[in-house]
Symmetry: C2
Subunit: 169 residues, 2 copies
């Protein structure tokens, strides 16, 4: 299930790409600088939109890497423009999709360490369930909420993206 | 992994209980009616905090129920006060925790239907990955963001709650 759960986080990044598309059209129609949205935040001591995107990307990248026994590629947080953010998302998706299902075979046995919990590790399954998934959705939802709060016309279906419904019979 | 993923969503509801605790203290210290936070929202056409809590509860409840072959218990959306919201969370947790790991054994084979996609069903695994998890974290994060936006002193660790780190050696 590792592969499917990481793949769904990647879908979240693809959904984010569609919000950026709408945000760009919105800024253009309303004649304001898109940078206002990219620097938007919900609280003065919370990080802005750009950071929320970078963080969502990083949790997906790190999950795909550590759970398949790789070190994550380095993506420095230098983005300032919409196009740079799009590139960040694109390279994250490309990396995550380069990890094939079979590479998660030993994910349960992995031990992952994070810089902010020195001297400790977390098992692969707990890392996915307690770290990758909650953090990815946290930052995606916060990015979504910043846009929504600023008047962008997006809704729950834009957040969820496509789902695999099939005919009942 | 179904059991562990639903259990982590339940942990999200427990984390939400701690934000409510802080929100109550904040309202008391600042001498404002907690109802202002409960009716708070991030956009005029987005649902308020109470609804975000009800929805997070419902996705956890429905996930635990359908994936274990049960119909979810009915919890009408009548909450207006902080205590009523706490009761809603409590009965959701009690139900979700009444479902034991073995009851998810056939979750992969389940077909789940939702009222807003008539004539269609979604497989148990897709339901968990594409519906239960993204929606639960979406509504939890939105609830969190409404409080954060209104000045409550909560941070990422309050969102994540406890994680199973162990000694590295």
């Amino acid at each position: 299930m590792y592969y499917q759960l990481v793949t769904q986080c990647v879908q979240g990044l693809r959904n984010l790409e569609t919000w950026l598309e709408k945000a760009e059209q919105f800024a253009s129609a309303k004649k304001f600088d898109i940078g206002v949205l990219l620097q938007g935040r919900l609280a003065p001591d919370q990080k802005p939109f750009i950071y929320q995107v970078q963080s969502a990307c990083d949790y997906v990248k790190a999950g795909a890497a550590w759970l398949s026994g790789q070190s994550p590629p380095k993506h420095p947080d230098t983005e300032q423009t919409l196009d740079e953010l799009r590139s960040r998302i694109k390279k994250t998706i490309e990396f995550a999709e380069s990890v094939k299902e079979a590479q998660y075979a030993r994910a349960d046995e992995r031990k992952v360490s994070v810089s902010w919990v020195p001297g400790k590790v977390i098992g692969g399954r707990d890392y996915l369930v307690q770290m990758t998934i909650p953090n990815t959705y946290f930052h995606l939802t916060t990015a979504y909420s910043i846009l929504r709060h600023n008047g962008l016309d997006i809704g729950k279906m834009d957040f969820l993206g496509p789902m695999r419904f099939v005919d009942a019979n």
